[in-house]
Amino acid sequence: MSAIVGFLSSAIRLSTTFLFGSMGETITEKSGHLNLGTPGVMCVGAAGGCLGATLYVTAAGGAVNPFLAVLIPALFALFFAALMGALYSFLTVSLRANQNVTGLMITTFGVGLGKFVKGALGSDADVAIGQICKYFRTLFPFADKLGWFGQLFFSYGILVYLAIALAIVTSVVFRRTRIGLHLRAVGENPATADAAGISVTAYRYVATIIGSAVSGLGGLFYIFDYVGAWDSGLTATEALGWLAVALVIFTLWRPNLGILGSILFGALYILPNYLNVGFAQRDLIQCVPYLVTIVVLVITSMRKKRENQPPASMGLNYFREER
């Protein structure tokens, strides 16, 4: 029993990385932007968080305020990840660059930038993360007293709950608000949206910037909460980033489904730790999420249900003159 609860709660914890990453990418893709830079954006989010943490811990000396210790790295992560989204939008919307190439460039650039920041900060960052990661990891002190129930529902840090809340809010925005309707129209048929007086450029910029910022929190969470150290965190962040992109397809562009999908992906990712297997089998098991995604992709393509297809104009830049 306790092994199962431990497994599930670990899966839920890890799922937050996927959930932030895929939710951000979903918001971006709904506007018609295929941002394959999500892994890079997540690395930049993590690196931004480390920069914020190092600066704050150094400035605060011994007296670290738990609230600020979480807020400042989070704001740094949001800001730098958003910058990557702005760069992507500038290249694809304003300079009309190919979306696929730009996205892959953002990934390469983001991972490299993250590694550079790591090297530049040196051991100061390790100290800072070690000192403040405990504030990321717990929110409800009473969780220990509730046994398995507490472990399963109340044992996580603030970012886990934030991700789930945000996923629900995003779903509601997509389906129930005017902004959501307009955003979906921009991603489906920008010419129609344009004719209806909706600014395609504004929607694509804003959605991509917000989406990237949200993805960046995934990287922040992974370093500060899940691992609690730099170590090999950036390489893993990139790998998890690609899984987040796959998760967007797996959840059929629905953030609310993303909550369950990310837990499944998290469970599959950590499953080898709970089985007595060698390294080779371990890597094989961690491939399962990709396989599952391919199966989902094939099934939805075969069923041809229009609601489950990607936004129709995703990956295509829009220029009014070429109508």
């Binding site: 005017r178 979906r184 129209a185 048929n189 004719a195 229009r306």
Partner: protein, 522 residues
């Protein structure tokens, strides 16, 4: 019915580069009336309507709404003047419901509640006798339902002046009748309706007055009750203009290609070719006249092996041995392997004819890529051919290695026609080969076609300019709504005769029946 003027156009002119789309057009639209705008293809109807709807801005002249000068620079401005347009190509998001599409871009300051929007949509629809299922997704709808959504969308935004661009082009006769009933109800409610069409019988059935455009110019307005088909046709096509295209007497004429009772159904399940029969003869130019989209494209594609037939036969008579070759249900490669030398200059030059990003030599190779040895391409001969075409047809290009898309329209066409003629065809099909070309390039193309005819090729020429058709072609096949409405002699036929045949639709019991069957099926 009160006779207040809702909309007035004074001396409106619009040019695109050197092409004059509208010249000094005057128009008045009264409140509570249906005004039909009649004109051939390219007579500037849509351009004129787009200016009223805010898509284009006139170069000269003024537009007055309710007696006051209106500046309409965007569709949003048009809505502020209570003008709404239903375009030929619907602007709808496929995965949205009807209600969501109508709500799109709406800024009425109210809180966003789909329920209220849907209720209001249903209310408007019921008022005019429409049927709209607000929760139905667009991709599940028929063309007629989509059109209804577009019309309601315009009404929802409070339009008093409605512009409809060829609304009946995509409708069955029954759906057309329904639409007309709705339009009459809207007129009786005091709305003003501008309807673009080139179907004469519809104009006569629906409109109060008719304004005619001819080659971008205003040709006059008549009361529908006081006119008839032949008067309208004459206004539409105008007097014949002499073009002085050389036309030699056909020599050694013999049958080359026989099309018999051909039927064709397109992807949407609409019958685009209905019992088409004709013969193309060697040493003759057969013109094909008709309103755009009457089945010309499908006809040529059927002969070229690109369109599946649902009935009928296409037979080729081999000039060497007089053998009959069946071309039905064959791919283009199979047709060529049968020894049929068929050349095709499609309407969509850079889509079907040439690859825009490839240079002239590579485009030549699209026809000869199988000729190399050992799996390697032969580039020498195509290069020679490209040089030849550039020299003989005076193609203006920096070199043979310039991407075709960088050439001007006329030069692109010369490259395409040159390549097709180089195959020494026995049948040459050309769809709108002079569209977008200046006078000189056009005459170059006419001469090329004439030379082919004189060398014994069966030429099929699909055109839109009646003057050209009447001077270039030996016989003219007139096609209307997918059926052959007549085959006339190019030397003796008059413009009015062809014009009337073009707009004559055999909307008799026969087509009514097939439409009815389709409804049962769905």
């Amino acid at each position: 019915m009160d006779k207040t003027v809702a909309l007035e156009l004074k001396n409106v002119t619009k040019t695109f580069g050197r092409v004059v789309a509208n010249k000094d057009v005057n128009l008045t639209l009264n409140r509570g009336e249906i005004l039909a705008i009649l004109g051939e293809n390219g007579s500037g109807k849509t351009t004129l309507m787009n200016m009223i709807a805010g898509i284009y801005y006139p170069d000269e002249g003024a537009i007055f709404v309710d007696g006051e000068e209106a500046v309409i620079r965007s569709p949003k401005d048009a809505y502020d003047y209570k003008i709404g347009m239903v375009h030929q190509h619907f602007k709808l998001v496929d995965v949205f419901t009807a209600g969501e599409n109508i709500a799109l871009g709406l800024r009425d300051g109210k809180k966003f509640r789909m329920k209220e929007i849907n209720a209001r949509v249903t209310e408007i629809a019921e008022k005019y006798g429409f049927h709209v299922d607000v929760k139905k997704k667009i991709y599940e709808m028929s063309v007629s339902e989509k059109q209804t959504v577009e019309i309601v969308k315009v009404l929802y935004r409070g339009a008093e002046i409605l512009i409809l661009d060829e609304p009946t082009a995509v409708l069955t006769p029954q759906e057309t009748d329904k639409l007309f009933a709705v339009l009459r109800r809207m007129r009786d409610d005091g709305k003003s309706i501008l309807i673009i069409t080139h179907k004469l019988h519809e104009v006569l059935a629906l409109s109060d007055r008719v304004s005619v455009l001819r080659k971008g110019e205003y040709a006059g307005t008549v009361n529908t009750a006081e006119t008839n088909e032949s008067e309208l046709t004459e206004m539409m096509v105008g007097k014949k203009i002499a073009l002085n295209i050389n036309r030699s007497t056909p020599q050694n004429v013999c049958d080359r290609l026989a099309v018999e009772h051909v039927n064709c159904v397109n992807r949407e399940g609409v019958k685009v070719l209905d019992d088409v029969s004709f013969t193309a003869r060697a040493g003759e130019i057969l013109g094909v006249a008709g309103i755009a989209g009457s089945g010309q494209r499908e006809l040529l594609e059927a002969i070229a092996g690109l369109q599946k037939l649902s009935g009928g036969a296409i037979t080729y008579f081999d000039p060497q041995n007089g053998e009959r070759v069946n071309l039905c249900d064959k791919t283009p490669t199979q047709i060529r392997d049968l020894g049929v030398r068929l050349s095709f200059v499609p309407e969509d030059r850079l889509g079907m004819g040439l690859v825009g990003n490839m240079d002239i030599v590579d485009n030549m190779m699209l026809r000869s890529y199988r000729k190399g040895k050992w799996g390697m391409l032969d580039r020498k001969n195509p290069k020679g051919l490209a040089d030849d075409i550039i020299r003989k047809l005076e193609v203006v290009t920096p070199g043979v290695h310039t991407p075709v898309r960088r050439l001007s329209g006329g030069n692109v066409q010369k490259v395409l026609v040159g390549r097709e003629i180089a195959l020494t065809p026995t049948v040459l099909m050309a769809a709108y080969p002079v569209r977008g070309l200046d006078i000189n390039s056009s005459y170059t193309i006419y001469n090329l076609l004439n030379k082919q005819k004189e060398s014994g090729v069966a030429v099929i020429f699909v055109g839109e300019d009646l003057d050209v058709l009447l001077e270039l072609c030996d016989r003219i096949l007139v096609i209307g709504g997918g059926t052959v409405t007549g085959i006339v002699d190019g030397r003796t036929a008059t413009k009015e005769e062809v014009g009337l045949l073009m707009t004559k639709f055999r909307r008799t019991e026969e087509t009514q029946e097939t439409a009815g069957e389709e409804n049962h099926d769905s």
